[in-house]
């Protein structure tokens, strides 16, 4: 059975889906900076769609003149020195999007002697380039651990009461603890989440990705 694509008639087979998801599964397990994961993913995408080279470039302003190849890789870099992608026709795939006020473009190239990219190959590359925003972003330091290490059950309970808007007194009553103990727990929570006030703690917790 085939998956109908969003552009009339494009199809993905199960093996394509597994190929792409396994590539991402491996990339997410790499213990390396995001830039290295990007390289790994784009190399892997090349292999998956049968491209020989890729490049990633950003223009300073959308539509602006300056174009710098930030990174390039793949088995055949010489391909990238050939005429512009528009002239390479069906052996080039480009995916552009705005990122941090610049236009980012990822380009996949195939040797002119080989057949054109098929619709399913195009779809695989498009899905990756459209759904993984950091492929287009400049390398930067990741924000400090986005998921917090595991808290003890009592601390988790205290945190949940805080989020529910309870006062120290109410929390101590519900948990059967003295207000001093609760105060100590809250202090630990501040330290754990690197916050110094109840307000910033709550903002931090309700912000994003609270998985613990």
């Amino acid at each position: 059975m085939l998956v109908a694509g969003g552009h009339g008639g494009m199809m993905l087979k199960d093996t394509d889906i597994y190929g792409l998801v396994e590539l991402l599964g491996q990339a997410s397990g790499l213990n390396s900076p995001l830039a290295a994961k990007k390289q790994f993913l784009l190399d892997g995408l090349c292999a998956l769609i049968g491209a020989e080279a890729w490049s990633w470039s950003r223009t300073a302003s959308p539509g602006g003149g300056h174009r710098a190849v930030e990174r390039a890789s793949g088995g055949d870099r010489a391909l990238l020195a050939r005429p512009a992608p528009s002239q390479a026709g069906k052996r080039a795939l480009t995916f552009s999007q705005l990122s941090d006020g610049a236009a980012s473009t990822i380009l996949f190239l195939r040797r002119p002697s080989r057949p054109a990219f098929t619709d399913r190959e195009k779809l695989l590359a498009r899905m990756a380039c459209e759904e993984i925003p950091w492929l287009h972003e400049l390398p930067r330091e990741l924000p400090a651990a986005r998921v917090a290490p595991r808290l003890s059950p009592r601390l988790r309970e205290t945190r949940d009461h805080l989020l529910a808007g309870l006062s120290y007194r109410e929390i101590s009553r519900r948990m059967g603890l003295s207000p001093n103990t609760v105060h100590g727990y809250v202090k630990e929570l501040y330290r754990h989440y690197g916050q110094h006030s109840r307000a910033t703690l709550i903002t931090r917790l309700t912000g994003t990705n609270r998985t613990d």
Partner: protein, 256 residues
Amino acid sequence: MDETSLLTEKDVRAIVRLLGETCTLDGTLNEKKHFLMTGLGRMIDTQAFGWVHAVEMVPGQLPVYTAFICGGFNEEVLPRFIQIQSHPDMARLSTTLSRALQGRTKPLTRTLQQLMPIEEFYTAEVAKEWRACGIYPRVLHFHPLADGTFSGIAIYRHCHKPILTPREAKIAHVILSSVPWLHEAQGAAGERTTQVPQLPVRERLVLELLLQGYSRKAIAATMGISINTVAGYAKNVYRFFGVASHGELSRLFRLS
């Protein structure tokens, strides 16, 4: 299940997005598991998950699970959930699964309804326990490890919601079978966990609850026994692993 795809382009895009986000995390293995499993739960409308190192899967016998990593359970439900795993019914209910896993080298995903007639599940004693937790197990994924044990993942959905559709189970299968680190055991590597089956069932339960950070008082309340009895079990556990403190025990299982 492996040959035909039930997924839409939208499904695949959501999977790609979730794994792309997972790439940007720099937390520990367990934190990444939490993130990925919670994201999967959002995609297929499931509310909780449990990961275990399944040390022993013998048809007709109680499976031996250790090193629980759970998400989506509140503090009240979590100890009950862990206790359910040693309910006598679980030996019978996991027989089909244990049998399917004998000698298997590829990952296996099964919905609850594939493992047993759904009525048989609903009428089992243990189903009452699940109802008290508000959830039913809906899909199980078992990943054979090199040493003959398994990485096991169970995904739970609220009791009042319907069973998982084949498409939802497929989304779970695609993700769970394609992410190798999901099955690596930060807290369960080596001989420590393979010793776990030698512990009596009650001690095993106390071990898991201790590893989750519960006090002896809380464990006593969950198991409906006195604190002294729990302390006795805990002592046996400490002696069995040759440790003198909770910290040492946690480090053995590398959960902290």
